[in-house]
């Protein structure tokens, strides 16, 4: 029987290595134009992939998530801050589910 703490430490060791190795080993700007372009696009693609369709699946009814997505995009286009956009999404889901979920 392995202690839960051992499992936790193993997971921590692996995940910390994944996060810290690139930060400590890549010590200068990459020369390759392709690699620099690639890494420039990584955040946008990865966050987009994680947002949709997950936002629609995170709510009690998909329609609430879809409304939150539309409202969030609109708020961000209008220049809303992180807190404003996130708060808008939460409020839209809360209101939509008040009406849609009994």
């Amino acid at each position: 029987m392995v202690s839960n703490y051992v499992y936790i430490l193993v997971a921590f060791g692996v995940i910390y290595a994944i996060r810290v190795l690139p930060l400590t080993l890549i010590r200068r700007p990459l020369r390759s134009r392709f690699l620099r372009s690639f890494l420039y696009y990584v955040p946008y693609v990865t966050l987009a992939v994680m947002t949709f369709p997950a936002i629609v699946e995170a709510t009690a009814v998909p329609a609430a998530g879809a409304l939150a997505l539309a409202a969030g995009i609109a708020a961000a286009l209008l220049g809303g801050s992180l807190l404003t956009v996130a708060g808008t999404c939460c409020a839209v889901v809360f209101l939509a589910e008040l009406i849609l979920v009994r």
Partner: protein, 241 residues
């Protein structure tokens, strides 16, 4: 203790932007805690796991394996797979580190490269500001760990409506990060649109649906970012802002 001018305000900005992250984290961690309780973890163990790992899918996999009495090597392998996207994120962050930044920061910043904290850190113009990162960590990580511990302790006590509403906070933040640059640059807009579309298709296709969400995220990120880099290569030095 003397601080450099602006250091305190960067930390405060991090705290401010960390608040929506903390709210979302609390709700998500609460449901993660319920999974941890099922696996037999104590609130303290859940708290420690969340402080150290700060990863939703990764911790969920960890708790499931603990519940199943898995071997340590299995935990290591699954952790590697479910969290591999952080490797890409850290590579992207490494390109924004100023040569003047003290080395120790690399080890501390690396402790909390989460989807959300990475997102706001990279969205901030200019070189990576570690104190901004720490400010966000200071509110988000305790909320994450506390949420996990309370989830283990209390189970399903938060009203479902509240969990549902708070759960989208994280996605709202992602939108706040990706939409404004997409408005300015066509290449970014296409990346975001393609990301939405491909993620939806990949989740529906029988062949790809069996892969874990983390693996799909990596495959799509590598594929689409590489495509974007080929079609829309960035200009030389001084770009990216």
């Amino acid at each position: 203790m003397k601080r450099k001018a602006g250091a305190g305000s960067a930390f405060a900005e991090g705290v401010r932007d960390g608040i929506p992250i903390a709210l979302g984290y609390f709700a998500v961690a609460f449901s993660l805690g319920i999974a941890a309780r099922d696996a037999g973890l104590t609130p303290l163990q859940g708290f420690i796991a969340s402080v150290l790992c700060t990863a939703s899918a990764g911790e969920h996999a960890l708790f499931t394996l603990i519940g199943a009495g898995a071997a340590c090597w299995e935990v290591a392998l699954v952790t590697l797979i479910t969290n591999a996207r952080y490797f890409l994120m850290s590579c992207a962050l490494s390109q924004r580190i100023s040569p003047e930044m003290a080395d120790g920061h690399r080890f501390l910043v690396g402790a909390a490269v989460t989807d959300e904290i990475f997102g706001i850190s990279i969205a901030r113009p200019g070189p990576l500001e570690p104190r901004y990162h720490y400010g966000a960590m200071a509110v988000a990580v305790p909320a994450w760990a506390l949420g996990t511990a309370l989830g283990i302790l209390m189970g399903t006590v938060l009203p479902a409506r509240l969990v549902s509403a708070l759960g989208v906070a994280l996605y709202g933040m992602f939108l706040a990060i990706i939409v404004p640059p997409a408005k300015k640059e066509l290449s970014v807009a296409l990346c975001v649109g393609a990301g939405f579309l491909c993620s939806w298709v990949a989740g529906a296709l029988p062949a790809l649906r069996t892969l874990s969400a983390g693996t799909r995220t990596i495959l799509l990120t590598v594929g689409l970012s590489a495509l974007a880099a080929l079609v829309f290569p960035r200009k030389e030095e001084g770009d990216g802002q």
